[in-house]
Symmetry: C2
DNA sequence: ATCGTTTGCGGGAACGTTCCCGAAGATGAT
DNA sequence: ATCATCTTCGGGAACGTTCCCGCAAACGAT
């Protein structure tokens, strides 16, 4: 490999200077003759000198890279968050190492250990559905290792996080259905292990109670996060003695799976059953009727998470445990529109 | 930051050995007393010693990371490829640094230079639609810098690539429409700057000719890659004096944009116009009717690209210029099915 | 002339690791 | 007993950079 880059030594030798002086000249220090500096800078330019980042890392005992742990990135949710993170990290000279857990706690742990061995300066994490053991995270925190959770946060761990108010927006989604005349609303719930699932159930119940509707636990169907689960959920709905007139789903794929199944069984949406999803996806605009959904500020979320992490890294890891709650919004579309707003 | 890791020195000091001996013991060299080795290994284990990758990088003058340049990753196409790449790179101890060009040649260049400064050991690239200047790539090749293109390859550059036979599969898609009885087939074409666009046009024309159909240049509508472009394309179609009876689109988003517009204008799919997309996406199964599409072997593509690159890196960058052509397949669904197969 | 002070530069250690080379002590052969 | 050989280990340079320290020359002030 002929990748012998120009080093500071080459410049020093060419100009008959010491490496120290060249280093200081390039760093724009005061104790170097303006003419010397000029010569150094010009030669560096000419030779296309780029400082070797690896040796700098060794000096600083930092890798200037951060590890990201996500469950998947086939849906556009996490890619959009990554874009937000990169927009902060890139200008600051940090690299992002992305690692998928495929919803497996074991792989999640393996990836984190691997990234730790690679000396990342911090972690940005969205936990898998399987993750229950918080010991490792706790150890990181105890060692003041920079760590930020987003979206799916670990329970009972004192750590910085970037989230939306899932309860509130589940409330908004459910309330919207009620306003559209729904009186018997099913909730296709997420995995129990996830904090967001519980929060959204809470918001769903709150909305029912607020509007004087009964909370019927049998209307809360544990589903999951995938489209296939939505199909299964819809099949359970079809077997109900009394059909519901509204569905609030944990996310868009589940909502869409349910819609496909219901439609196939001759149920009209939104006339018979109105549907609302969560976490805006491209698919919402493609399914017919278009899906009403809660839109999360993905880019801003990534941005905030990265900023929070950099703050921790740069502040020599003082314990700046903070929770940032971002705003979301509801996109009302045909799947829930029974009457003009 | 209390990230003082255990170093080889710590172990040496604790056991009253030299760093050389500890290094050799951990590297399982022959010239070290079995008892000494045992002591070293055990203490390393106990102290949870992890070799500092940065100092190793400095020694090897390699960063053990590869840069990836992609136009976007909101669609699932590139994420799936990334997964394929990671499956190869991870076990070999290489990191992947992903960088988006947002279809901008300028940003693409900026990102590549930035990654070069970070001393990546190679590049895996899918060029942006804007990229026309191949000089930089040529320079890399001249310097024997490890480089692999996939999917969207640079023209006229002698370099390794991983692709599918776009011409062939465009042929298959078009032929399928012909077999379904289509006689007047529109092609919603991709950006002219892209190699794949030209290849798919060629395959489209070949199929028409092979089946004795006229090639009408006015039926080739330059579109782009986004759903919005598909909508515009469909609007052009609607203004045609004679409507076509089939559409072959450059990709799924364009096909779906077109379908939505056509449906809105009362055109039945596939009865009036049959539609085929390209590069299988999740959306194909969601749009109604479900979209017939050409499915690319994304994971295998990423895997092959990574293997090709590692081969170049490890072989000290000998010029192993190779082109790997992978198989694809057609998924026939309702959007093109006029008669049972 | 003598003494501080400024200005500009170089020496060398350090970051954590590997690896070449040499040096002991033990062992074997003559 | 002598010498070659094997075994086991340590010294030290190197990777590219920064940074602390010290040193010399030039300068001004006394």
């Amino acid at each position: 490999m002929i990748k012998s880059r120009v080093t500071i030594k080459d410049i020093a030798k060419a100009l008959n200077l010491s490496t120290s002086t060249v280093s200081r000249a390039l760093a724009d220090r005061w104790d170097v003759n303006p003419e010397t500096r000029k010569a150094v800078v010009e030669l560096a330019e000419k030779l296309n000198y780029m400082p070797n980042p690896i040796s700098l890392n060794l000096k600083h005992r930092q890798s200037f890279s951060v590890g990201m742990i996500i469950p998947e990135f086939i849906n556009s949710f996490f890619p959009e968050i990554i874009m937000g993170i990169q927009s902060v990290l890139e200008p600051e000279g940090y690299r992002l190492l992305i690692s998928q857990s495929n919803e497996s706690a074991e792989l999640e742990m393996k990836n984190m250990r691997s990234l730790e061995a690679k000396m990342v300066d911090g972690f940005i994490v969205s936990v898998s559905t399987e993750t229950t053991d918080m010991e490792y995270f706790q150890t990181l925190i105890d060692n003041h290792f920079p760590l930020v959770f987003f979206n799916r946060v670990a329970r009972n761990v004192p750590v910085s996080r970037v989230i939306i108010d899932d309860c509130k927006w589940a409330f908004v989604a459910t309330e919207h259905l009620i306003e559209q005349g729904c009186r018997r609303i099913v909730h296709l719930a997420g995995p129990e292990s996830l904090d967001v699932s519980a929060e959204r159930i809470r918001g769903y119940k709150d909305a029912l109670i607020r509007h004087g509707l009964p909370v019927d636990e049998s209307l809360i169907i544990p589903c999951g996060l995938l489209m296939e689960k939505g199909i299964l959920g819809a099949m359970q709905i079809l077997e109900m003695p009394v059909l519901p007139d509204g569905i609030f789903a944990i996310n868009d794929p589940v909502a869409i799976g349910a819609m496909k199944t219901l439609k196939k069984n001759g149920i009209r949406i939104p006339e018979d059953i109105a549907v609302v999803g969560f976490t805006e996806s491209k698919m919402a605009m493609i399914i017919e009727p278009n899906l009403t959904s809660i839109e999360q500020p993905t880019f801003a979320m990534g941005k905030a998470a990265a900023e929070l992490l950099l703050e921790q890294i740069k502040s020599n890891c003082e314990v700046t445990q903070r929770t940032i709650v971002l705003e979301a919004k509801i996109n009302i579309r045909e799947s829930s529109l029974r009457q003009p707003v």
